[in-house]
């Protein structure tokens, strides 16, 4: 990996981490209503995959979607504004954390329905194939979604039609509170790919270089007409299912153990310095730049006007 790519991947991951930290603070200040689902701990997946995507490539995301939005180059200010329920947010404050879509970057949307985006990404890939473009679609989803019917239906269809789509399963070990080891009779979810007739790849979702390499191969294959891939990234979420989750289904030892052992940012810092791709000072400078960018984004979002008064029908039909 070259220096520029390594530092960019680190910067994207650091941006996601900082975004989650700032969101949590804003939530604690009662400025964000509802709930938020932190992507902290899973940053390497969105960063490593989206590094290969163009603005005209498609993604579908999840309820834990901040990382995918950021890696697909969303504007931080508009994201915060959405979380804060401002008129200046991506969806004018209608969607909040779980429903950010970014039409300018091919982000078909975070989604509050587990597995809801999988067939939609598959459909976008169908259009890319039929129109003869070299666009690809990436569907991000968790281990929980891998047990939804849409997963099965979509992977089968993508395989029989050889669609340019990559299914990225982020196994963060829990479907809400339900552990993956109880929800699956298999230990490696990627073996399911064989049942559909597509390559299945399992990578360490902590290692952004590994994700980057695996995604590179899968995306290049899809662009060249080689069909879909199931890419399973083993991961762990540092926070609960949502901010404030009492996490009764986990022990303190487990949480602390994983947090220290499973940190894609610390991991990246380690190999970037070791391999001579960047110095501690350079990485610290990135941290500071990200922190500054984040504060500007929060300030911009907080200065934005509140959502406009409720008005129906609006953006429901072209004409009615």
């Amino acid at each position: 990996m070259d220096k520029q790519t390594a530092l960019h991947l680190y910067r994207v991951m650091r941006t996601i981490r900082r975004f989650e930290q700032r969101s949590t603070t804003l939530f604690g200040e009662n400025k964000i209503w509802g709930t938020i689902h932190s992507y902290a701990g899973e940053e390497a997946i969105a960063a490593g995959v989206c590094e290969h995507l163009r603005d005209d490539d498609w993604i579908t995301s999840t309820h834990r979607g901040h990382g995918h939005c950021i890696a697909k180059r969303a504007e931080l200010g508009k994201m915060f504004a959405e979380l804060l329920g401002r008129e200046t947010g991506y969806c004018r404050g209608r969607g909040g954390s779980m429903h950010i879509a970014d039409t300018s970057k091919g982000n078909l949307g975070a989604n509050g329905i587990v597995g809801g985006g999988i067939p939609i990404a598959t459909g976008a890939a169908l259009t890319a194939k039929q129109l003869g473009t070299d666009q690809v679609a990436v569907s991000f989803f968790g281990d929980g979604a891998a047990n939804q019917g849409t997963f099965h239906e979509s992977l089968n269809i993508a395989a029989i039609w050889k669609l340019p789509v990559i299914y990225v399963c982020e196994n963060n070990q829990y479907a809400e509170s339900f552990p993956a080891k109880k929800a699956f009779a298999i230990e490696d979810i990627s073996v399911r790919a064989a049942g559909y007739g597509m390559p299945g790849v399992r990578v360490d979702g902590r290692d952004v270089a590994a994700v980057y390499a695996a995604a590179s191969e899968a995306i290049a294959r899809a662009r060249k007409g080689g069909g879909p891939t199931l890419l399973v990234c083993e991961s762990y979420r540092h926070e609960g299912h949502y901010y404030g989750d009492p996490r009764k289904y986990q022990t303190k030892e487990e949480i602390e153990g994983w947090k220290t052992a499973f940190d894609p940012l610390l991991d990246a810092r380690g190999w970037i310095v070791r391999d001579g791709l960047g110095t501690e000072a350079e990485l610290d400078a990135i941290d500071r730049a990200v922190d500054d960018e984040m504060e500007r984004a929060v300030a911009w979002a907080e200065a934005g006007p509140p959502a406009s008064p409720l008005k129906f029908p609006e953006d429901i039909y072209a004409s009615y």
Partner: protein
């Protein structure tokens, strides 16, 4: 002008739209080589090829979901639910996804899909091939739900549905597919999705219906006409949008209203029409708004004796009309 059956009207209109716009595709079970179980896409795969006439695995959720993604990305997909009953597994994609994408993308993305569904009883389809699902979908802002019942309306409204930038549930009553015939004007005319249509002008009572029940109401209205009672019949061919202007105008004209639908009565589409009239035209009413609908059964029974009794027919519709006229 040409005389066609309802199913011929669906077939011809789809074929013409496929010829007009090569972005139009259809995804469904048995739509390709088989030509559709009702022969709606007969000859399509030969003329338009397997990339546009797509035989799908039996996976309704993916049929709709793939259509949604393909539509946002630039195609104009028609998703066929082989029977309306089969749309239950696709409910999430229709209601949570298709209906909301314009709203949740600030009006920047839209989902130009048509979901066609043969619906309704009267063909001995029993519990999983006979149901009325219009009320489920008509409840959802973000969807349009239309129920044309004549070859001309099917032609004009299917053209509008395919050219509409938003998701349209297009309901085709299967018992009328071959039983109902009528003239279809030549040329590329369209009928907007929304306006109801007065199919029979009358002065004593107003009856609202759609689908198979429209034709049974027209038949009953003929009988009443011979008895000297003038029946006004409104074809509520669009449930969402629902044409309050025509519905209320016709209610005020006679002051006596009956809604006939084959779906079970509670929470059916007829309840909404009834409420609209009660709220908006109360001062013009000379009788309580009446409804004649299907029984409170979870599904349509198979055997002919019970299915016939299940559906309102021209005889018991006529009886209800007389009751209303005499009120």
């Amino acid at each position: 002008m040409a005389e066609k059956s309802n199913v011929q009207a669906v077939h011809d209109t789809l074929r013409d739209e496929f010829r007009r716009d090569d972005r139009v595709i259809i995804l469904g079970e048995d739509v390709g080589v088989r030509g559709g179980v009702f022969r709606v896409t007969d000859g399509f795969i030969e003329e338009f090829g397997p990339d546009r006439v797509i035989d799908m695995p039996l996976a309704e959720s993916a049929i709709v979901g793939v259509a949604i993604g393909a539509a946002i990305a630039g195609l104009v997909p028609i998703a066929e639910m082989q029977f309306a009953d089969f749309s239950a597994p696709a409910f999430e994609q229709i209601v949570d996804e298709a209906a909301r994408i314009r709203y949740r993308s600030n009006g920047q993305w839209n989902v130009p899909i048509v979901i066609r569904m043969p619906w309704g009883a009267g063909v001995h389809g029993a519990l999983y091939h006979s149901q009325s699902l219009e009320a489920f979908y008509a409840h959802v802002p973000g969807l349009k739900v239309v129920v044309p019942s004549t070859p001309k309306d099917i032609t004009g409204m299917l053209r509008s549905a395919i050219r509409d930038p938003d998701p349209v549930i297009f309901l085709e009553h299967k018992a009328t597919y071959r039983a109902v015939k009528g003239d279809v004007p030549d040329g590329d005319f369209t009928i907007p999705l929304g306006p109801a249509d007065v199919k029979r002008d009358g002065t004593d009572i107003t009856v609202y219906a759609y689908g198979l029940m429209l034709h049974r109401c027209l038949e009953a209205a003929e009988t009443l006409g011979r008895e000297g009672i003038s029946v006004d019949v409104v074809d509520v061919r669009s449930l969402r949008p629902l044409d309050s202007e025509t519905i209320l105008r016709e209610a005020r004209k006679t002051g006596k209203c009956l809604i006939v639908y084959e779906d079970n009565r509670l929470f059916g589409a007829g309840a909404e029409i009834c409420a609209m009239i009660a709220e908006e035209a109360f001062d013009s009413l000379d009788a309580p708004v009446m409804r004649l609908a299907g029984p409170e059964s979870p599904a349509t029974p198979f055997n002919k004796i019970q299915e016939d009794a299940f559906l309102p027919n021209a005889d018991n519709i006529a009886t209800k009309m007389r009751e209303l006229a005499a009120y």
